[in-house]
Amino acid sequence: MAPDATLHTLACTDLACRRGNRLLFTGVNLEVRSGRAVWLRGRNGRGKTSLLRLAAGLAVPESGRVSWGGVDVRRASVYAAVRVYIGHANALKEDLTVLESLQFLARLHGRAHDRASLRAALERVGMESRRDAPVRTLSQGQRRRATLARLALERQPALWILDEPYDALDVDGIDVVNRLLHEHLARGGSVLLTSHLPPGAGAPDMAEFDLDRFAP
């Protein structure tokens, strides 16, 4: 592979993951290159979320390694800036408003956090009108949208690691996500996501990765 190509590639090599005393999967080899999207599928309990967490660098693999640009993700200092991880949990604080929650996350991750940018991002996900509502008053779908507004703040190509991004969203919401994904991939970003339902017609082309194959 040309040296340039590895620079913006997530590479999982011979990855194994343990939960308690069981091995969830072994020998996983997965690559996510710039401009590509990968749909991680598998039955419940196969370790999809665990794999995403390993890819993000939150967890330590039982064996194998995860690297970004050739460097182990747990050690790569550049990784934090080019990685966006949105897990099952929304990371929104119940007592803060939508705008405040988003602002905190944007500040934390070094993204634009001025009011104008945040409002524009919320507008894209259809949550601008509820920007001053406390998160605890929102429905599940609305909270998901508010979290996904983070993606609308992104400008540079990055690796998006998304755990069930379509969860709880209505048809409009799914549309919004797909549009964000299309734009992201067009500017050279990459995506690794899970979804228990197959991505619909509006979603960008995604390579399928079936985790069921790697159960021990």
């Binding site: 343990r18 308690g20 069981r22 039982e62 064996s63 021990p216």
Partner: protein, 248 residues
């Protein structure tokens, strides 16, 4: 069959074999040395001028106190090794040391109490050493409580390592502060070093008792570590064949 890579449990199985070979000797040594120490301490050493016969407890109290402190450091050391080198057996060793360390701490407190009673008339005295031993007991209990509360053994091992290290770093500070506190309040002192002239025989008894405790500690910690190894590796071939042999 969910077996892990062979190399990750080669160490525990070798450890198991090593301990099985060595332990009988350790037990034997512990018993012999203990008997010798008890004989010398109770029958051979002379009566103390100031404290009469009650001071004889010193040669159980002091070795127990020494061991309680050394074992804590050993526990912190092995926990740290297990964490940093990803060595499972080291982490198991740390877990195995904790109950024995706690036991010796309790023994030191108990014998200290026995010593205090005839000397000061009370069953407990808040002197610097006894208070430090009490705090050490709390540190041991804290470690045991933490690692038992965490279901995931790997997380338990690592969290225990952090706790043990934080404790180890704090032990000198705690001891210093307790000594400071004690001198300010001019409490009673049970000090081994204050005993005017330690009879040679007493020192010998204390030394023998210390060695005996050491041997005992090794033996019992190793046995516990063996049990931990078999339990954690119960999915592996060597552990199963072990169980198979026992059932025959």
């Amino acid at each position: 069959m969910n077996t892990l890579r062979w190399s990750t449990f080669a160490a525990p199985s070798r450890f198991y074999a090593l301990v099985s070979a060595v332990n009988p000797w350790l037990w034997g040594l512990a018993i012999v040395l203990a008997l010798a120490a008890l004989y010398i301490g109770f029958f051979v050493a002379p009566v103390d001028a100031t404290q009469g016969n009650s001071y004889r407890i010193i040669f159980i109290h002091v070795p127990a106190a020494w061991l309680s402190m050394v074992l804590y450091l050993a526990m912190a050391f092995w926990a740290a090794m297990g964490w940093m080198l990803n060595a499972r057996m080291a982490s198991m060793l740390a877990r195995a040391i904790a109950p024995t360390g706690a036991l010796f701490t309790f023994l030191a407190l108990w014998t200290g109490s026995f010593w205090g009673k005839p000397t000061w008339g009370t069953w407990w005295v808040w002197d610097a050493r006894l208070t430090s031993e009490l705090i050490l007991l709390f540190l041991y209990l804290g470690y045991i409580a933490l690692v038992s509360s965490i279901d995931d053994v790997v997380r338990g091992d690592k969290a225990g390592a952090v706790l043990a290290l934080v404790g180890a770093v704090n032990v000198p500070i705690i001891y210093f502060s307790v000594v400071w506190w004690n001198t300010l309040h001019q409490g009673a002192t049970i000090s081994a070093t204050a005993a005017p002239k330690m009879a040679q025989t007493m020192l010998l008894a204390m030394l023998l008792m210390t060695l005996s405790f050491w041997a005992y500690a090794f033996a019992v910690v190793f046995t516990r570590a063996q049990a931990l190894a078999v339990e954690r590796e119960r999915h592996t071939d060597w552990a199963r064949s072990l169980a198979g042999k026992e059932l025959q």
